[in-house]
Amino acid sequence: MTKPHIIAATLVIAFSGSVFAQEHVATLRAGTPLGELADPPQIAKRVNSDLRQVRNYPEQPPLIPHKIDGYQIDINANKCLQCHSRTAIEVSQAPMVSITHFMNRDNQFLTSVTPRRYFCTQCHVPQSDAPDLVENTFVDVDSVLDYIAGSKSGDH
């Protein structure tokens, strides 16, 4: 490459970078100049209602309706299972870990949770009251079915 070419290429990259950053990339800094520190948003509160929430689709791992701060889940101990294991629910009155979690990859049921399902928070998550970062247009399948049923009967 010749020298003018390199300069031109550099300029193009530099300009396109700034243009894209301004017009297409929504950053969490939200327009704060580079040299300044943005005010960080307040840490959202964890939902701790203990009320089970609707699953958005049947296969959705149920959400955790309580705080799990400091819960230890490692090779030594699983704090979740202190209440949710098969033997603990009489005392805790918590929902038992689903029987599917006892099944290994060969569809054999083991006596307790299989290692592949051991790390609860890989799928089950607590919720917070934080506002959505992006708009969510998800529609529950029942609403879709209602809509179809409605449009067939001529309501829509």
């Binding site: 701790n48 209602s49 400091g70 230890q72 030594n76 805790s92």
Partner: protein
Amino acid sequence: MRQFIQRTWAAIRRPSVHYSLGFLTMGGFIMGIIFWGGFNTALEVTNTEAFCTGCHEMRDNVYEELKPTIHYSNRSGVRATCPDCHVPHEWTSKVARKMQASKEVWGKLFGTINTREKFLAHRLSLAQNEWTRLEANNSLECRNCHSQESMDITRQSTRAADAHERFLFTGEKTCINCHKGIAHQLPDMGQASVMIEHSSDQSLVEYLKAK
């Protein structure tokens, strides 16, 4: 030896020839204050977090684990130090605990847990010592701060309120039964449950028999 004891006893029995009664009484009183005060001060020095974390065994293992927990950092800034949970506050029990702790000096001298690996290997038995102690004294050290009378369960989550109402207020369980691992990492609980069946956990044994 026998002669020495006899001579000492005779010296103690004989009334003082050179010192006045006042001097001996006041001297005894002042020396009493100095020795007793010194003893108690030394005892209190061993009862500080700075003393506990003076050794790397505590500083690098259990103290590091305590730091992210609610008993070290929280919204109100009140915190528990090592002796708050591990040493009884009442004097007689405290001295009894301190005498037990002389075994820990032995452990320090011979390096029972002087590496991370040794500490991890001993973690289960170390934890079990504490669980047994707290089960036996009805979680006395927890209750030094967390009193049942002052616990307003309406300000707790329903889950916590239910559990406290069913198990704590009825005396069926004590704090440590449910709150193991609140301030330090748990040992291998798979092994722990095997050991609990053979331990003195009477309620669990009875529970298993009833089944």
